[in-house]
């Protein structure tokens, strides 16, 4: 119990780091995920191919490997960024592949007639997708996107191995100070629960709100 009260600022710093990584990487993942889903259903062949390649590569690469590729690889091309930004990039891109597939499966739940009606009225592809199809797909993609973002929050622990301040990394200094490893991890687990349950709560509200339409 003392381990938390004695090191409150250390825990708080770690929690804040995890929250930051989660929020920024989530925003990146959502933006890229929706964009890639749009690419994958676009009438332009090259866009579809790009979206498919994006998903295939990122979904099938182990996240740790992706971290190495970003942290060690990008500087070789002259792109040197703070480790935290690298971590957000790796997490965001990785998760975007899963968001993309969730959104795409949502798009597939909307009857094709909806898109055909929109097109027959002269709407362009972005209009058809944005005004008619996605709003109807949104409802069914809320739960899987929630799950994906919870996974992202937990995956952010890998960033600790790349000297980014986050919650899991808190155990290292505490271990050296001789605190009980069990209680150290107990409070770390509670920290993750705070983050993941918050995400659950947000998505429950979204589901209730958007579930009513129609």
């Amino acid at each position: 119990m003392n381990v938390l009260l004695d090191n409150l600022s250390l825990y708080a710093e770690g929690l804040l780091g995890t929250v930051e990584l989660t929020v920024y990487a989530s925003l990146l993942a959502l933006a890229l995920g929706f964009l890639m889903a749009a690419f994958r259903v676009a009438p332009v062949r090259s866009l579809r191919a790009f979206g498919t390649a994006w998903v295939t590569v990122l979904r099938n690469t182990p996240l740790t490997l992706l971290f190495f590729a970003v942290v060690l690889g990008l500087p070789r091309f002259g792109l040197v960024l703070p480790f935290k930004l690298f971590a957000i990039l790796a997490l965001g891109c990785y998760t975007s592949a899963f968001i993309c597939e969730a959104v795409r499966s949502g798009i597939n739940t909307v009857p094709t007639g909806q898109g055909e009606a929109a097109r027959s009225l002269g709407m362009t592809f972005p209009q058809t997708l944005g005004i008619v199809v996605l709003p109807q797909a949104f409802r069914s993609v809320i739960p899987p996107i929630g799950s994906t973002l919870i996974a992202l929050a937990k995956n952010s622990a890998i960033a600790g191995a790349f000297s980014v301040v986050e919650l899991l990394g808190v155990y290292k200094p505490l271990n050296e100070l001789g605190y009980s490893i069990i209680w150290t991890f107990f409070w770390i687990a509670v920290g993750y629960l705070i983050v993941t349950l918050s995400i659950s709560a947000i998505f429950n509200v979204l589901e209730k709100h958007y579930g009513v339409a129609r």
């Binding site: 909806q114 097109r119 009225l121 002269g122 709407m123 209009q127 339409a213």
Partner: protein, 247 residues
């Protein structure tokens, strides 16, 4: 009849795998003309209808609308589709929008009309199809016949040069078919150019200028309803008519 071609198909071909659904189709629809396309199921009539606004792509041949060839994908195609209304068998009203929104959406987003103006016009059109009291409901709260009348109003809101009907009454309960056909008859009387794929022979007799009979991907007959229904030339049409007119 002005005799001026609005829709012109020449040598149109399309396959679904091995099935040759459209075989060398030539069809001209003049401005103000009502052409009813009939034929057994699988004869390619729906495909023909959908090809006219390129919901189905074709493999060879040309389709011209108002003298302009149908563009490939992209903005030009969208613009052209805006000028040809389409009414579907399954209505396809936007399920997440109210009746009024369904009608206003394309005028506002595609034609960039002002919202209040589009809403006023939408109410006029709803009044015309007898549904102004349903403006704020969602499509799922309406009967099939009402949904189809809204779909017609939605197509009309774009002030199209022509309307395509793809089996507009096939998904309706019998007692609702007439309310939809009545709206279509009224449009025909007002001089709207229409291509109607249907099984409603009564409508074909009373409202069509021409009947196009399709079988196995070909246009077998293309004549006035009088001639077609009283003295079909082909065996295929005789057989078809004997089957549907008997019961």
């Amino acid at each position: 009849m002005a005799g001026e071609a609005l829709i012109e198909l020449r040598g149109v071909n399309k396959h679904y795998g091995k099935l040759h659904v459209l075989q060398d189709i030539d069809l001209t629809v003049d401005r103000g003309e009502v052409v009813v396309v009939i034929g057994p199921s699988g004869s390619g009539k729906s495909t023909l209808c959908r090809a006219i606004n390129r919901l189905e792509t074709i493999e060879s041949g040309t389709i011209e609308l108002d003298g302009r060839p149908l563009p490939e994908e992209g903005r030009a195609l969208a613009q052209l589709r805006a000028e040809v209304g389409m009414v579907f068998q399954s209505f396809n009203l936007f399920a997440h929008r109210t009746v009024l929104d369904n009608i206003m959406l394309a005028p506002v987003k595609v034609r960039k009309k002002r919202k209040d103006e589009a809403a006023r016009r939408a109410r006029e059109l709803l009044d015309r199809v007898g549904l102004v009291s349903q403006a704020d409901k969602y499509p799922a709260q309406l009967s099939g016949g009402q949904q189809q009348r809204v779909a017609i109003a939605r197509a009309l809101a774009m002030d199209p040069k022509a309307l395509l009907f793809d089996e507009p009454t096939s998904a309706l309960d019998p007692e609702m078919i007439n309310e939809v056909l009545e709206v279509m008859r009224q449009l025909a009387r007002e001089g709207m150019t229409m291509v109607v794929v249907t099984h409603e022979m009564g409508f074909a007799r009373s409202a069509a200028n021409r009947v196009v009979f399709m079988a196995d991907g070909r246009i077998v007959e293309d004549r006035t309803p009088e001639e077609f229904f009283t003295a079909p030339r082909s065996e295929r049409a005789k057989d078809f008519l004997s089957k549907i007119l008997k019961h």
